[in-house]
Every structure is written in structure tokens, then in C-alpha cells.
């Protein structure tokens, strides 16, 4: 099974101090009030995913954020998945609906 997380905020089970410090060093941020982790730095993003997979004992993928409609969506079903070197990493992208929707695109362009 694969666990889908949202990079803007996700929960993890309670981890040992060493693992927590490692996560923070790798570029995660922790909101004590909400109990949510979020990604602050993307420099070690592959290592972050490996560490989280190790904690959750399962494969982890992140949702993408669409730059046009702002929705979060998964890489599953993307036509370019095979060619993408950053698949399942929590970055900005364009969802397949927005990419082919000409009307939506023109509305998006008027924002600039």
C-alpha cells in the first residue's frame, strides 16, 4: 500500500528524539499546536521521503499543487509519469484538466 501525504501539513506517529531531530535537520517543520509536519526545505526531499517511509513502514507519495487552479492532486494518472524525475515529490505542477482546458488557461493568464 502507498500512503499519500500533503506536503503542506501531515501527521506522523510519535517518533524518538533522534528521528525527530533528523527530520527537522532534513528540512521539515513541526507545528506543535496543530501537531502537523510540513516541508520547509526541499534540498533533501528524497531523504525526507525515505525517512518518512521508514517511520510509516510503507511507501510514501506527496500530493502536487496545481499552479493554475490551486488544487492538490496526485501524480497517479499523469501522462508524463515515466519521464518525470520529480514524481511524487511535493512541488508545483499543472493538473491534467488545467493543462488541456483552454478556457481555464485564458482566465489564468488574465491574472498577470
Amino acid at each position: 500500500m502507498t500512503i499519500v501525504l500533503n506536503g503542506k501539513g501531515f501527521k506522523l506517529p510519535r517518533v524518538e528524539k533522534e528521528k525527530f531531530v533528523n527530520l527537522i535537520h532534513l528540512g521539515l517543520d513541526y507545528d506543535r499546536n496543530a501537531g502537523l509536519f510540513s516541508i520547509k526545505s526541499y534540498n533533501n526531499i528524497e531523504k525526507v521521503i525515505d525517512t518518512i517511509s521508514d517511520i510509516l513502514k510503507d511507501d510514501v507519495v506527496f500530493l502536487q499543487s496545481c499552479i493554475r487552479c490551486g488544487k492538490d492532486f496526485s501524480c497517479r494518472g499523469c501522462n508524463y509519469l515515466e519521464l518525470c524525475t520529480t514524481k511524487n515529490l511535493p512541488f508545483s505542477c499543472v493538473c491534467s484538466q488545467c493543462l488541456k482546458d483552454r478556457k481555464n488557461f485564458e482566465t489564468y493568464l488574465t491574472q498577470f
Binding site: I67, R68, S92, L99, F105
Partner: protein, 270 residues
């Protein structure tokens, strides 16, 4: 400042003062979106498939995608898929981390061979990294033994290649590709050991090695022997003598500093 490799020696002092931001390849949908925007602003009518092909060929390089769009669509302000048929894929180097990731997650020998052929990383570093990370990739001992067998053969070919027999490179790649595909379906992501352990060890022991080299130099100058002879034939005896009598006349004769004497007395294996 932008750098292809921020870990190189000459950037090390500067790196301490900088905030490191890693740039990833730009994704294909983002390049298509950018090309769509350019087409709209420049009044170029382009088929979606044509833009898709330009974006795929650019391998995440926005500048090359824009150059391709300009060269193909500038003349008649129309771009069809047929116009892009002449385009070929851009060659792009991959980093050691990315190469390792793709190497260990490869599903077939052919996939690994193709990936290695396009990679421009240092062969020796890659070989060391592969052998350091194999135990994490293959928890099963039989598969691990098989993989190490292939890596040892690759190492053999690397030795034979040396600096001139590059026609043997295909055999080196072939054995490495076999090592990656011993059990392709057992892949589970793991944290890589990079840089190779041997390089890390050399980095950590650099201070000690420099100190020992300076001591051997002083012994060599007084006794008229090479650094190698001083290290193997003199240092063990001088160490034993200094351990018994730290203020021995030897210290002044060899012109050892107090740090060097301390190092010789406390040094373990060298």
C-alpha cells in the same frame, strides 16, 4: 550564485556563508504551460501535441524548450506535431544521487544500461557507492552475493580500462547493470550512503595522515630514507621509544614538535 556541483573543494568556504537551494528539473506540464503562454502572447497557433513533444525533448531544460519553440514557430506562426519531428532529445548529465536512485530502482538490465550510458559521473565514485549501498538494496544474502559478484567483475574491468582501454567500458556497464537487476521486484526505497564510505574515511583521517606525513618527512631528512621506509621501518620503533621515555633526545634530534610527540605516543593503527 548558481553552481552545478556545490560540493567541490573551491566552493567549500563560500558554501558556509550561503543558503543552499537545490534546483530540480522543471516538470513537463510546467514547461507545456509556459510554452502555451508564450504561444498566446506571440500569436503562435500550436498543437498541444507539438508543445508536449518539445517539452519532453527538453528534459526539464526551459531554455532549450523556448529555443526549440522559437526556431520552429517563428517563421509561419504555426506549429504542428509534424514540425517537431526533426527534434531530437537533449543530452543531460545526471548527478551521483540521481544516478544511484535510478540505478537501484531499475526494473531491467536494459533500463540500467541505458541510464548508465547517459550518465557522466565518475566511474570510481559510482562503483564505490554501488558497493556501499548494495547491502541496503538486497537484504537477501543470496541476491546480495550474486550482486557483489557482478560488482567485483565490474571492478575488474574498471582496472583493465585504466586510462586508455575505453573499449572495455561496455563490459564495465554490463556487469554493473546485471548487479542492479539481480532481483528487480524487491526494490524498496532506502537512504543512500553517499559519498562512498572510503572517501568519508579518507576525509576524516586527513588530519592524522598529514601529521604522520610530516613526521615521516622529518625522519626521512635525518636518516636519509624515503617517507615509505620511515613510516614502515622507523615509526614503530620511535613510537615504542617515545612511549617509554617521552623526553628522549630523539625528540630534539628529529626536531619533533610537542604535538607530533603526543601524536606518536597516542597513535594506534596507521
Amino acid at each position: 550564485m548558481a553552481a552545478n556541483d556545490p560540493d567541490i573543494e573551491k566552493l567549500r568556504p563560500l558554501k558556509k556563508e550561503c543558503l543552499l537551494i537545490r534546483f530540480q528539473q522543471v516538470r513537463i506540464p510546467l514547461i507545456i504551460a509556459l510554452l502555451q503562454k508564450i504561444c498566446l502572447l506571440e500569436h503562435v497557433t500550436a498543437e498541444f501535441e507539438a508543445l508536449e513533444r518539445i517539452a519532453q525533448n527538453s528534459k526539464g531544460d526551459v531554455r532549450s524548450a523556448i529555443n526549440d519553440l522559437q526556431s520552429l514557430g517563428e517563421e509561419n506562426h504555426h506549429l504542428s506535431l509534424q514540425d517537431t519531428m526533426m527534434l531530437t532529445s537533449r543530452n543531460k548529465d545526471t548527478s551521483l544521487d540521481e544516478t544511484l536512485r535510478r540505478y537501484f530502482s531499475a526494473q531491467s538490465i536494459a533500463e540500467t544500461s541505458a541510464m548508465l550510458a547517459f550518465s557522466n559521473i565518475d566511474y570510481d565514485d559510482f562503483l564505490l557507492s554501488v558497493s556501499d549501498n548494495l547491502p541496503k538494496r538486497y537484504p537477501d544474502l543470496t541476491a546480495l552475493a550474486k550482486a557483489y559478484n557482478y560488482v567485483s567483475k565490474a571492478d575488474l574491468f574498471r582496472g583493465r580500462i585504466g586510462t586508455e582501454n575505453w573499449h572495455l567500458l561496455k563490459y564495465f556497464y554490463n556487469d554493473l547493470a546485471h548487479a542492479s537487476a539481480v532481483n528487480p521486484h524487491s526494490y524498496k526505497s532506502f537512504t543512500f550512503v553517499t559519498p562512498p564510505i572510503r572517501i568519508i574515511t579518507l576525509f576524516w583521517t586527513k588530519g592524522k595522515r598529514t601529521m604522520l606525513d610530516a613526521i615521516c618527512g622529518k625522519i626521512g631528512a635525518q636518516c636519509h630514507v624515503s617517507h615509505k621506509t620511515a613510516k614502515h621501518d622507523f615509526v614503530p620503533y620511535i613510537r615504542a621509544m617515545l612511549q617509554k621515555k617521552p623526553k628522549s633526545p630523539l625528540v630534539s634530534w628529529f626536531k619533533f614538535t610537542p604535538e607530533e610527540v603526543d601524536f606518536l605516543i597516542k597513535m594506534g593503527r596507521y
